[in-house]
C-alpha cells in the first residue's frame, strides 16, 4: 500500500537502550503517588494515613473523566499532602512507605467480562491512561456510542522522540501482551482493521509485530519513515490511514481510534492477570547518565532513586526531563515521582541542558517548511507582537501541538513553542471575551426589542 506521506524533521535517534531489556527495580523505600496522572479531575484518596496497603490495591478514584490509582508497593500510608507538581498545579499525593515485600493485594483477580459495559469497566479498573505521554483516560477513549463508527484502530508504536525505547521494549519483549491486546480489541471493540505504526529505526520491534500480525487479516504493520513527529496523533493518523482530523474534532470523528502500544499491552495484562497499572517501564538516559538502560519502576518512585538504581550520573545533571527531549517536561528537582505516563527520564549536563541564546530571525523558512501542522511561526510571531488576535485566529496557532520541530530546525535558536503557548492562551482569553461581548450585545438587543414591542 502506498501511504500518503508527511515530511518531518530528522532528529538524532540516540536509541541507546533499544536492546536493553528492562530491569525491575524492587528495592524502593518510599513512593509518592500524585492523585492526578491523567487528563481530567484529580482522584480522591480512598486510604488514610496509617492504613496498610498492598500492590494493586486501589488507593484513589474519581469521576467519569478520571482513572483510578493503585498502590505500587506494599506497606503503610505515611502521608497524604498537597505538593506542587511539574505541570504547575498543586496536587494531592499519597506517600507509601514500602515494607520491601511488594506483596500483591489478595483481592486481585482477572475481571469478568460478559459484554461491552463490562469491558469498559475493566478498562477503567486497569488504571490505564494514554501512556505515550498524553494521559487521557483509556476507558473514556474506548467508550464509544456506536462501535461501527470505528473504521480503524491505529496502534502507536512510532516512538519518534530521541532516546525513548520503552514502547520498543513493549513490542520486542512483551509481544505476547500486545498480541492479547489486539485480540481484546477484536473481541470487545469489534475491530475490523488495526494498523500498528512503527518508525523504520526499530527493526526488532517491526519483526516482533510482523510475527504476530502476518497471518491476521485484521491487523497490519505500517513501517513509517523515522522522522519527527511521526508519533503525533494527527500525523500518525494521516500517515497510516490518509485521513485528516479537522480542527476541533477528535480522531473518532473520522472513524479512527489511536492507542499507544504500551497502553494496549498493560490493558491486556490487567485483563489476563488482574494486576492493574502499578509499574512503569522507563528509559533512563541522557548525556549525564552513566549507563543508559530501561528500568521497570513502581509508579511514585522518586526520580533520584531510579537514576541511582540505573547506575547514577557521570556528571551533575543540569536539567532533568520527563519524557523525550522534544516534548518532555523539565522537573524542578529529583524528588519528583515516576508517573503513569512517564516513558523516559532524561538527565542532561550543563552543555546540553542550557538553552541556546536566541538571535534574530533570518527568515530562512525552515520552521515554515517543517511544521507538520503547516503553520507559519514567523507570521504568528508578528501577529503576537502586534497583539493581532484576529490574525492569530486566522493563522491557527491553536492547532500548534507544541512538537518543537520548528525550534529544532531554527538556526537562530528561537523558542517558538514558548511563544505559541503564550499565543494560544492569549487567543483563548480574547475569544472568550469576544464571545461574552457578543452575548451581552445580543441580550441588550433582545431587551431593546422587548421594550420596543
Amino acid at each position: 500500500m502506498k501511504l500518503p506521506h508527511m515530511r518531518g524533521v530528522r532528529v538524532p535517534h540516540r536509541k541507546n537502550t533499544a536492546g536493553s531489556r528492562a530491569v525491575w527495580m524492587k528495592n524502593v523505600k518510599t513512593v509518592t503517588i500524585p492523585l492526578s496522572m491523567h487528563i481530567g479531575a484529580p482522584d480522591t484518596p480512598l486510604v488514610k494515613v496509617g492504613d496498610t496497603v498492598q500492590v494493586g490495591e486501589k488507593i484513589a478514584e474519581g469521576g467519569y473523566m478520571s482513572s483510578p490509582i493503585y498502590a505500587s508497593v506494599s506497606g503503610t500510608v505515611k502521608k497524604i499532602d498537597t505538593a506542587l507538581m511539574s505541570n504547575g498545579y498543586y496536587i494531592q499525593n499519597v506517600t507509601i512507605e514500602s515494607d520491601g515485600k511488594l506483596t500483591p493485594w489478595e483481592g486481585l483477580k482477572p475481571p469478568v467480562i460478559n459484554d461491552y459495559a463490562d469491558f469498559i469497566a475493566a478498562v477503567r479498573d486497569s488504571g490505564v491512561v494514554g501512556l505515550g505521554g498524553a494521559g487521557f483516560p483509556t476507558a473514556v477513549k474506548l467508550n464509544v456510542k456506536d462501535l461501527n463508527q470505528i473504521e480503524e484502530f491505529v496502534i502507536n508504536g512510532a516512538e519518534c522522540e530521541p532516546y525513548i525505547t520503552s514502547d520498543t521494549i513493549t513490542m520486542t519483549y512483551r509481544t505476547g501482551y500486545v498480541e492479547k491486546g489486539l485480540e481484546i480489541l477484536k473481541k470487545y471493540m469489534n475491530a475490523r482493521k488495526i494498523i500498528i505504526g512503527i518508525e523504520d529505526n526499530k527493526p526488532e520491534a517491526i519483526r516482533a509485530m510482523h510475527a504476530i500480525t502476518d497471518s491476521d487479516p485484521v491487523c497490519s504493520v505500517a513501517v513509517l519513515r523515522s522522522s519527527y513527529p511521526q508519533g503525533a496523533e494527527k500525523v500518525l493518523i494521516y500517515n497510516t490511514t490518509g485521513k485528516i482530523v479537522p480542527e476541533g474534532k477528535l480522531p473518532l470523528d473520522v472513524g479512527v481510534v489511536v492507542m499507544n502500544v504500551t497502553s494496549l499491552a498493560v490493558l491486556a495484562e490487567y485483563i489476563e492477570t488482574g494486576m492493574p497499572l502499578v509499574n512503569k517501564c522507563v528509559t533512563v538516559d541522557g548525556p549525564a547518565v552513566a549507563s543508559p538502560r530501561n528500568v521497570i519502576a513502581p509508579i511514585g518512585t522518586p526520580l533520584q532513586d531510579v537514576f541511582d538504581f540505573a547506575g547514577g550520573f557521570v556528571e551533575a545533571p543540569a536539567k532533568v526531563v520527563y519524557g523525550g527531549p522534544m516534548m518532555g517536561i523539565a522537573v524542578p528537582n529529583l524528588q519528583q515521582p515516576i508517573l503513569k505516563s512517564t516513558n523516559a527520564i532524561l538527565a542532561f549536563n550543563r552543555k546540553e541542558g542550557e538553552m541556546a541564546k536566541e538571535t534574530p530571525c533570518i527568515r530562512c523558512g525552515r520552521c515554515v517548511n517543517t511544521c507538520p501542522m503547516r503553520l507559519n511561526p514567523p507570521m504568528i510571531a508578528k501577529a503576537m507582537r502586534d497583539k493581532n488576535y484576529e490574525g492569530l485566529a486566522e493563522l491557527k496557532v491553536n492547532l500548534c501541538m507544541e512538537c518543537g520541530a520548528c525550534v529544532f530546525v531554527c538556526p537562530a535558536k528561537r523558542n517558538m513553542i514558548q511563544r505559541h503557548k503564550l499565543a494560544k492562551s492569549e487567543l483563548r482569553t480574547w475569544q472568550q471575551k469576544q464571545a461574552e461581548q457578543k452575548k451581552r450585545e445580543e441580550e441588550s438587543r433582545a431587551k431593546e426589542g422587548e421594550s420596543n414591542g
Binding site: G328, L334, M355, P360, C364, V368, L399, F408, V409, P411
Partner: protein, 312 residues
Amino acid sequence: MGEKLILSVSPHLTGWRTTQNIMLDVIIALCPAAIASVIIFGLRALAVYAATILSALIFEFLFDRIMKKENTIRDFSAVITGMLLAMNLPVTIPLWQAVVGTFFAIVVVKCLFGGIGKNFANPAIAGRIVMLLAFASSMSAVPAFRGSVDAISSATPLAILGNGEGASLSLVRLLIGTHSGALGETCAAALLLGGIYLLVRGVISWHTPVVFIGVVYVGSLIVTGSPYAALQYILSGGLILGAVFMATDYVTTPTSKWGQIVFGLGCGLLTLLIRFWGSYPEGVSFSILLMNILTPYIDKWTRRKPFGGVAA
C-alpha cells in the same frame, strides 16, 4: 539536593544549524567564484574585496556600537554583503566608491531597518544599484581580463549578444569566465559549483534559482529563436550570481517553496523585460530588488493552509 535544575519549555534539543554556520557555508560557496575573479581580473580584485568586506564589518561594528546595540558582526552576514557587493563591481572601481556603496548597503539598507533579518531589500543589490546611479561611468566600465587581446575584451557578453555578434562567444568561454564583466559574475562554472555546494548543504533550495534561470532560458529562446543563444544568455551577465546567491537570500525572499517559485518566476520575467526591451543591458539586480519589495505579499499569498484547519 540543593542543586537547582534548569527549568525551560521544551524542546530540550536543537539542531546543529546556526545563523553563523549558515553564513559560513555561503562564504565557502562564494569562494570559488571569488578565486576565479582574482585569476581572471588580476590582483586588484583582492583590493576591491578587501575594501568592501572590511568596510562592511567596520560599518556594522560602529553602527552597533554607536546605537548601543548588541554586536552582530560575528554572524558573518556582513562579510557576505561585502563579498557580494564586490562581485557586482568592475575590477577598475575606485576603492572609495566601493566603500561608499558598502556604507549604503550596510548602514542604510541593513542596519537602519533593524539589522540582520529586518532589511526588506538585499543590501548588496541595493548598494550596487545606488552605485550604478551615483557612479555611472566607473560602474559601466568594461574592464579587460588578464591576457585579453581579442575584440571580445571590449564589451560584456550581453552587449556582444545584443549586437548580434554572439557567434564569437563560446559556451566554454562563458563558463570559464574569461570575458569582461563584474568581478564575480563572469565565471559561471565557479558560481554553479558554489550553488551545488549550497544545495547539498541544505542552505538553499532549488526552487528560486531553477525557476529564475529556467524562465530566462525559455524567454531568451522565444525571443532569439535559438537554443544556443538562449544558453549564452543564461551564462552571461549577473544571472547565475543573482539567481544562486542573491535571489536565495533568506531575509528578503519568500519562506515557502511556492513563494520561492513565484519569486523566481517574477525575477525571470523582469530580467527578460529589462534585458530585451529596457535601456539597461542587464536587469538581474533590478528584478531581484523589485521582487524583494513584493516578498511580504508573496508570503501572504502562498501561505500554506494549516493541516486540518477549518475557516473561522
